[in-house]
Amino acid sequence: MKPSPDPEYAKMTKQASPPSKKVQNAAKAFLVGGLICCLGQGFLDLYLYLGIKEETAKLAVPITLIVLTAILTGLGVFGKIAKFAGAGTFVPITGFANSVVAPALDFQSEGRILGTGAKMFTLAGPVIVYGCSAAAVFGLIYYCFVL
């Protein structure tokens, strides 16, 4: 049973609650997110320069970023960057990597199976489920109308 809400109190709460600094957060996210993309491009250029085939190099770039994020998460640095950057680190593949590594580390204390194993995808799980579902739907549309 949900008691009837109090509209006047809801209004008071809205007024008393300081809003997020949206413009500032967006600017930070744009800067850091952009820097991460530049970093990715830098790795791609480096791998191509080293003579790695383009197809392989394009695969190596996200892997590099994922490994870097995992290491930074383990060192406790990533959380600090993310606190500053917000969506800037969350949206690129770094956010996904962090959301897998963080619970894996945190739930070590509950054991390898029910801790690390079970909890590793509590945050990333929805991304995988809905990412795959969306891919299937769009694939079907593509198949019907384009191919």
Binding site: M12, T13, F90, A102, L105
Partner: protein, 339 residues
Amino acid sequence: MPKRVGRYVIELPNRPAVISWGTAVGKTESEGPLHKEFDICYQTDKICSGTWEQCESKLAIDAVNKALIKAGKTYEDTDLIFAGDLLNQCVASAFSVKSTDIPFAGLFGACSTMALGLALGGISVDSGASNLTIAAASSHFCSAERQFRFPLEYGGQRTPTAQRTVTGAGAALITPKGETMPKLHAVMIGRIRDLGITDANNMGAAMAPAAACTVIDFLRDTGKKPQDFDMILTGDLGLVGSKLLLELLQKRENTDISAVHQDCGNLIFDIEKQDVHAGGSGCGCSAAVVCSLILKQLMRKELNNVLFVGTGALMSPTTSQQGSNIPGIAHAVWLTSGE
């Protein structure tokens, strides 16, 4: 014997005394404005080599031990312990108390646990059921985060209305006599209030209506006015909740407590410098503030009449995810200075 006054207040005619108190806190709290008031200041949140839950238990037992040592009492002297925390099934308290062999009642009052413990402790001593009762409460930022929010290393931003769970514990020893020590004059068990807040990042807003209800009930039943108290201390509404409490009382009850109001969540941190958003929260917040600064000032008679109103948000991650409202509760303890 405890005596009901008015509709909700329970007076303790024998005026049980709080003869001793102890606190233990973590790193952020040790860097805060009250660091000199706490008994044990750890410079890390990793207080022991075990899990975060074990670290919290260690804080709780540290606070209890400190309080007992200061009073020259032992586990054997203790008749009852009322202790609580935020973790599922109150495990931090149970695991901290298990080796003491003290008869244990685990409490869950969310962040209001210290007030609830003091209230029940006071009643137990005043009624003659106990000669020495300990009231204790604890919380730990890391154990609370992993239960209620995200894994510790998860990178994200908090909303400005979010409060930081205090890493800390407080314990108070209540006995029938203690001439110069602070006294428990009356207590009140609060009623649940729900004005429709669903945002788990805005606990202050969820708890403020309960605090307002308890303050008004207490003043009405005792016939007191806000200015009769040196301090009306809520714990822990934080910045947003404190603002809403004052506004609710002003608008709906025509009562102004702004001159005497303080909040544990605002006192424990330097909100600007320590980047704690809307202030502190957690059972350990009001426990650590009351069992240090407030009881010390009552002992020194710098404060003589304090109405401590502990506030709690009665939710779990499950009810929040299911979209249920967050009901709030507030229990009151009237503390006076000794003779």
